[in-house]
């Protein structure tokens, strides 16, 4: 599809299509939604089947489930502190959803729902609302002191307060743009080099020999993208925990 007309068409992979035939078209159910459901089912399946045996010596699936659990638990308690355990389910769900979205998107024919700013911004907005509500619930009016550091001269307030407010409002934007941009950049790179393979492969006798180079690049890129997929989910989770830390401890 990409090599049709000898052009590089790297962005059509992000287009949404209706899934599930006429039923999907009627309710605007896209392949993005289908992949979200798939990821959710995979996460629930991993956790349910992994934990079901409750073996003392865990099998493969159970140790994987335990690994994710312990990794996230260390992360949350390390960042938020002991009282952060309350928010563990929230961060865990976010992390798994982002991670599975990133990783499933790397499979052939799959769609990466985290490559849409609408999805990542919705997740980031959720984080923003939850952290703000947590801060308000725990600290009440004192939360607004967050926007004006103690000890600063009062006449500076008209400058400091707007800057702090804008900085606070910029959190969901940087959180969502980072994930979205990383996923888009990775998939565009993969597509561009994959198109090179096809284009160069058609260049007569020497073509297939030269085409091996971009193919090799793509093999390396897939490995790199797996790393990025994990890293971005990790960054999303750790930033969420940092924001929760700020909300719980408020300074």
């Amino acid at each position: 599809m990409a090599a049709e007309g000898k052009t590089i068409d790297a962005l059509s992979q992000f287009e949404l299509h209706h899934a599930l035939g006429p039923i999907g078209a009627a309710v605007n159910f896209t392949q993005s939604n289908a992949h979200m459901l798939l990821a959710a089912a995979a996460i629930v399946g991993l956790m349910a089947w992994g934990i079901a045996p409750r073996a003392v010596v865990p099998g493969r699936l159970q140790s994987m489930a335990e690994m994710f659990y312990e990794f996230l638990e260390n992360l949350v308690t390390g960042q938020v502190g002991h009282e952060g355990k309350r928010y563990f389910p929230f961060v865990f769900t976010l992390f798994m959803f982002v991670l599975f979205g990133n990783v499933i998107g790397l499979l052939p024919y799959a769609f990466t729902y985290t490559s849409h700013i609408a999805v990542t911004f919705a997740l980031a907005a959720l984080v923003f609302v939850v952290t703000t509500v947590v801060a308000l619930a725990l600290h009440g009016k004192k939360f607004f002191g967050y926007f004006f550091p103690e000890g600063a001269p009062l006449w500076l307030a008209p400058i400091i307060v707007p800057v702090e407010v804008v900085s606070y409002l910029s959190r969901p934007i940087s959180l969502s743009v980072r994930l979205f941009a990383n996923m888009v950049a990775g998939h565009v790179l993969l597509k561009v080099f994959a198109t090179f393979v096809v284009l160069l492969g058609g260049l007569g006798a020497i073509g297939p020999v030269v085409a091996v180079l971009p193919l090799g690049v793509n093999v390396l890129l897939i490995g790199f993208e797996l790393l990025v997929a994990f890293l971005q989910a990790y960054v999303f989770a750790i930033l969420t925990s940092i924001y929760l830390h700020d909300a719980v401890h408020l300074h």
């Binding site: 260390n74 992360l75 390390g78 960042q79 400058i159 707007p162 800057v163 702090e164 407010v165 804008v166 900085s167 409002l169 910029s170 959190r171 934007i173 940087s174 743009v177 980072r178 941009a181 990790y234 960054v235 750790i238 930033l239 925990s241 940092i242 830390h245 700020d246 401890h249 300074h251």
Partner: protein, 98 residues
């Protein structure tokens, strides 16, 4: 059982001495990536997102109050300041409580 605890303790001590167990996130700003490119991209997103937030807030306030370009311009500058502050926070987290 105590034998195993003793082993765990000695293993931890040995690992600490070898520097294998890194303290969780001593870098502050939250898993601050180590390579130059990643730090640059991270700081860039912080600045750009603060600019977007500032400009967007200013634009919304303008639309509400009907005072187009002024608040937009003011908050664009405020957004830039917030971006610089975000980058500063990236390297010097508040109070260094972590």
């Amino acid at each position: 059982m105590s034998e195993q605890n003793d082993f765990e303790r000695r293993l931890r001590q040995a690992r600490e001495k070898q520097g294998l167990d890194k303290k969780p996130d001593t870098a502050g700003g939250g898993g601050l990536p180590s390579s130059g490119w990643r730090i640059g991209l991270r700081a860039g997103t912080e600045v750009v997102s603060a600019l977007i937030a500032g400009a967007g807030l200013g634009w919304l306030l303008d639309r509400w109050l009907g005072s187009f370009p002024w608040l937009f311009l003011v908050f664009f500058v405020v957004g830039g300041a917030a971006g610089v502050m975000n980058v500063y926070r990236l390297f010097n987290p508040r109070n260094g409580a972590r």
